[in-house]
Symmetry: C2
């Protein structure tokens, strides 16, 4: 059952990597063929430098007093590597006697690298090698029925327009629009689910349900809603599968405290946590309660991660009604 290697991103990723591998694999052996003492990974840098010295010899910048070589960042930009990578490769090539450095004349920060005579003496052989390889690749393109280059270009263009992330997010959004709904708590319909969903994860992670939990479980309307709070319930195809509540806060520094965040494990992946927290933030904004507080536990990694994503900041942990609390966070909206 290796279905997952036959479709999807995994498949594409590994096929691409595979082909890259095959194209890149015998690079070292190819250099050997030409009796060139050049490590494959030096090639782009070498090529960039050889262009520079070719330019100079053809007289382009001879008027500028024989300026030759290229700076580290210029090479990096040209070949599409990071500058530390180039810096490192140049160091290796210097050790092999192929390049030398000098300081930039107009800018003392710059390191200008250029080929030594030994390095320059290799350009001929490397050009030969390069041309043969280019021809081999072109032949391959002609032999193959489907145009790889054009296909790559297509995909690059399409992904440029809308990244994979965007595309996936849109598909997900569309799928969920019909499946997931966030509704205000209705004691008649949701009382039991509110209790069950929360009790489930609390028991699973911590074993014991605490006093403060029962306070909210038993009389949610009286103890949460009638005191100015609010409870949201997430429905997946009509079934309640998640809850999140906002309580008015004793601590005058905050407007609301978020409590009873629960998503059924069977319903994960539908963005229910995200939708619930967004409902809460929207409600907070609507009612002018900008200063939010919440408590959690480091074991609820997914939840804490979500809070962080929505901008909640960690506080030094102070007193709490809950024994299981070891994380406190706040968010000031706007």
């Amino acid at each position: 059952m290796d279905f997952f290697r036959k479709t999807g991103r995994m498949a594409l990723g590994s096929r691409l990597r595979n082909l890259t591998e095959k194209v890149t694999a015998d690079a070292a052996a190819i250099y050997d063929l030409y009796e060139v003492e050049l490590r494959p990974k030096w090639f782009p840098v070498f090529f960039a430098l050889s262009q520079a010295s070719a330019l100079r010899r053809s007289g382009a910048s001879a008027a500028a007093g024989g300026e030759t070589g290229k700076t580290v960042t210029a090479i990096a930009r040209e070949i599409g590597h990071s500058h530390p990578s180039v810096s490192c490769i140049l160091k290796e090539m210097k050790a092999a006697g192929l390049v030398r450095f000098r300081q930039g004349r107009t800018d003392a920060r710059q390191t200008v690298a250029s080929l030594t005579p030994k390095g320059r003496s290799m350009t001929h052989a490397i050009n030969l090698q390069y041309e043969d390889v280019a021809r081999a690749i072109e032949d391959l393109g002609r032999e193959s029925e489907h145009d790889l280059w054009a296909a790559i270009e297509d995909w690059e263009r399409l992904l440029e327009a809308r990244s994979l992330l965007q595309r996936v997010a849109e598909l997900k959004e569309k799928r969920e629009a019909t499946e997931v709904e966030i509704v205000p708590f209705d004691d008649g319909q949701h009382h039991e689910a509110f209790r069950r969903l929360n009790e489930e994860w609390i028991r699973q992670l911590f074993g014991v349900v605490e006093e403060a939990d029962y306070y909210e479980f038993d009389h949610p309307v009286e103890n949460i809603i009638q005191k100015g709070g609010c409870i949201f319930v997430a429905l997946l195809r009509g079934e309640p599968v998640g809850t999140f509540a906002m309580m008015r806060c004793k601590n005058p520094a905050y407007d609301y405290e978020l409590v009873k965040f629960a998503v059924s494990p069977r319903a994960q992946g539908h963005g229910i946590g995200r939708r619930l927290i967004e409902a809460c933030l929207a409600h907070a904004r609507r009612t002018g309660g900008y200063r939010l507080f919440l408590e959690s536990n480091h074991k609820c990694a997914a939840a804490v991660h979500l809070y962080e994503k929505y901008g909640f900041r960690h506080l030094a942990v102070g007193h709490s009604e809950y024994a299981r609390c070891d994380v406190q966070m706040e968010l000031v909206l706007q």
Copy 2:
């Protein structure tokens, strides 16, 4: 002048890497979207394990006593990674509480990994994610004009049949067949070139030409050929650009000593060294001289590398006629 990024292996390599990058880039962000606490690189291993537990639940091996999980190497084979990679990923997933290990029942060397309940509770979300991504990729395939999958398949098949190395080697061979020729030494035509080509690199690398060199430079026919040796000259488009000579040996342990290996720097990359050494080995075989000896210097890295490639073995360095000698090698043919 970024010609080199527009054609050839470099171009293909970097375009492929680029596309892979784009497809792989926001993997972490996509997991986030599904509120899944899974690192992208865990995915293949996770998927393999989820298949195992799905299999078990569907009853396939329930008869076998609830055997579940997969061994490290089985996973590695399945997902195409090396086994240490899998071992490492499993260790990380164990730390995250997603997998557990047990020893193989029939084979005590095996480590059998399986998902914990926590791990299993994530499969639903991950499957959702996986299906959305697969759909997005399929949509991309439909949107693009050229068929990337088919093109990749073409190239894989073509490279399977003949690797890039083979293709390049053949092109090179063909090109050189008309350009390069190895001929026996002719004192009238080659005397001056024999001296010049060798003097050139000796002076460049070591400054001084030695007594033993002049012995061979000045009377090559008398001192090499008439004593039972042989000199080969490489011609590039008719021009002498390389030499290699075989002398009868004083040391009775060897049949020939190879000397005066020179290739003009301007002619490197045409496989001249290779052709010269092959000519020598063929001559040795033809004349029944199987035991070969040569001296060199570590500075001649390309030459020593070539000798090694043709099977020469390094000796502890003993006495030599040449002051510059710090490498001695031998090869016994057949």
